[in-house]
Symmetry: C2
Subunit: 168 residues, 2 copies
């Protein structure tokens, strides 16, 4: 299918921050990232899936050393993110020990082939996929950092590639 996979990289020392119960109406994603931007917090991945019953989760990954500052910036606005503007239903959850594994390629528009191979290799090695975020040239997954080295090795082998540890 003309896909060329060019590299695999692993970014460690990440934490994932998930805000659940965010109102699925205009303005709420802006509020979250406005607060983070004002606090000068560098964010890596942002993932949001579709909503159920008018609310959804918004997750982001960042360096674990910045997680506390991100939490402080977000705690202040949590209640505003609820559909009624004032609920205890909006929660924030932070988990350290996350690694991001990225497969970079070109021509990955018909991604199901590369994605399916990547996900199969991880599955065969017992590595759970926590989050998935893709673009035309990149498939990124977050996994448990404890499985990071194993995952990077088996994916590198599966695609016959050189491993390129990403400098965080």
């Amino acid at each position: 299918e003309g896909v060329v996979v060019r590299g695999v990289s692993l970014l460690g020392n990440q934490s994932k921050v998930t805000i659940s119960g965010v109102a699925d109406r205009p303005g709420f994603a802006a509020r979250i990232f406005g607060a983070l931007s004002e606090a000068h917090i560098r964010v890596d991945m942002i993932v949001q899936n579709v909503s159920h019953t008018g609310v959804t989760d918004v997750s982001l990954t960042l360096a674990t050393e910045d997680a506390k500052r991100a939490e402080d910036a977000l705690r202040g606005i949590l209640q505003e993110l609820a559909p009624d503007g004032d609920s205890d239903e909006v929660k924030i959850k932070i988990a350290a020990g996350v690694a991001k594994l990225s497969v970079v390629g070109i021509g990955m528009r018909s991604q199901s082939g590369v994605a399916s191979r990547l996900f199969s290799v991880l599955a065969e090695n017992g590595v759970n996929i926590q989050m998935i975020s893709t673009s035309e040239i990149l498939i990124a997954v977050t996994i448990d950092e404890a499985e990071g080295k194993l995952a990077a090795r088996v994916v590198h082998d599966a695609f016959g590639l050189a491993l390129d540890p990403e400098k965080a």
Copy 2:
């Protein structure tokens, strides 16, 4: 922060397919994309957020003309995706009329600034953000296709850019 936003593109005629209730254990993402790959279905975005109570949603976008074939490929394996391997809790939902708006840049690692501006511009114009998927060089959101032209115009203006309608 050294970020350069280089272009905005809009991809129309997309549908989003969401499989909900997928077991959050190794092998399930592989099963989904294996089935799609075997049916030669071209997938654009893949988005998966963290799980709650051991299950999560896996969403993908693709050309609306391919949505029916994707649904057929997935219906056959739905029950296998449940935590107990045999449940009626796994559902598939397909919605047409989706557009993907992408902002391409370099140096977007500290993405909260660009993301916050993109999300604010959309919010100010009443455009709801359905899904978000990012990488270091790209922030992609899915929105209602009916708001696609408006969204592309206001984002292009906000970043002072030339609009580049992506050829699907």
